[in-house]
Amino acid sequence: MAGTLLNAFVTTGITMSANSILENSAILTKIYVKPQIFTLATAIAGLVNFAVGLIPLSLVCLIAGQSISPRVPLMILVAFFLVLLVAGAGLAMSVLFIRFSDSQSISVILLNMLTYVTPLFYPITDLSPTMQRVVSLNPLTSFLDCFRWCFSGNASATLNDWIYIGVSGIVVFIFGNVVFAKSWNKVVVMLG
């Protein structure tokens, strides 16, 4: 269930962040505002929903007899890097959303594929060694381990996992900003 919460934040967060530029096109074509603000604000707003979702998750854990880990405050780190990842991916995808109307439906398929290579509903040990390596390369696997470790101690998060979520969050954020900065002047005219 913890994984579902994290996955919902990532998939809906990326889609909504990518869509935020289109949704605010009426502002962006009339008033000079840094467009990246809308993407980042949407990612942070998704984080609020994520935090609210922790309340029923905590209740279910307590009812099921699981304890909440004292490491919960460390989730701030996980959340911080998640926001960077979501905002960065959203920024990069927003360029496609503006240019191609069908890219939103294609993104749903890609994000579904990302969900299936994240060990949400299956233990990673059930997979073949090759698939285990593939799933381990997915940053969301490390995010999930760190999140579960912080929340309920129900997983092991290694130092490598923490480094991987930090690096992937920062790299995706920088990548998204670079792609957006290079493309914005070309796509802004398509906003009308």
């Binding site: 502002i27 496609l96 109307s101 002047n185 070309k186 005219v189």
Partner: protein, 244 residues
């Protein structure tokens, strides 16, 4: 003091000539080699400057490049060639009500819009009653903007944009909206700001407004300067071209 200086500004729209905005169909057309990219010139070699306390009128037919010019000055669109120098803060009124959210109240929208154009929110909060009073919506400050008429939205947006003096006002057809009382009030407020040194760029299709307010007029045609100079001279030529 020169508030705005444009040197040989050009802007063109890069258009992919496919009938669809579909990613799948673009791939198909790329494989067929049938994708053609054309550039549509929206502005070509535009140069002028605006001094503080002066009004520059911009006239021209539909598609002449007037709104594109304002958007480049506002920083919304990038100038692809040439140089744009802007000194001071801009209050853009390219469309009254842009940035207003229908579900937010008039007070919330005023604060949000003011934040977007770089105003100090603390100051705006203190001026909320004055903004609403000028717009004639004092009794509706806590109502969602969706319950407002388009005229009320226009009055509130204009009031919010001009409550504090801006160095530069960009006005696109705004003085032609609303009833006669509102139009007179907007002209009075612009004159008040001019007296304080604000520079105004005014786009309008109404010759009477241009003649009343502008010191100079820029006549655009198909993205190029057709004529630029003293108001009466340019407006006479523009009027004659419209009649012929």
């Amino acid at each position: 003091m020169k508030l705005i200086e444009l040197n040989n500004i050009s802007f063109d729209y890069r258009v992919i000539r496919t009938t669809s905005t579909s990613l799948k169909e673009l791939f198909r057309d790329l494989l067929r080699g049938s994708v053609k990219i054309t550039r549509l010139k929206a502005l070509e070699n535009i140069s002028f400057s605006l001094e503080s306390g002066k009004v520059l009128g911009v006239v021209g037919g539909n598609g002449a490049g007037k709104s594109t010019l304002l958007k480049i000055i506002a920083g919304v669109l990038p100038a692809q060639d040439g140089e744009v120098t802007v000194k001071g803060n801009i209050a853009p009124m390219i469309e009254l009500g842009a940035g207003f959210h229908p579900e937010l109240t008039a007070a919330e929208n005023t604060i949000f819009f003011s934040a977007l154009i770089g105003r100090d929110i603390k100051v705006v909060r203190n001026e909320l009653n004055a903004i609403a009073e000028w717009a004639g919506v004092s009794d509706h400050l806590d109502f969602p903007i969706r319950s407002f008429s388009s005229g009320m939205v226009a009055r509130l947006a204009f009031s919010a944009a001009t409550q504090e003096r801006a160095d530069i006002l960009l006005v696109d057809e705004v003085l032609s909206v609303g009833d006669e009382k509102f139009r007179a009030a907007t002209r009075t407020r612009i004159k008040e700001q001019l007296a304080l040194g604000t520079g105004v760029i005014l786009v309008s299709h109404e010759p009477s407004i241009i003649t009343e307010l502008c010191d100079q007029v820029l006549w655009l045609e198909k993205g190029k300067i057709k004529l630029f100079g003293e108001t009466q001279m340019v407006m006479n030529a523009y009027h004659n071209s419209q009649m012929s």
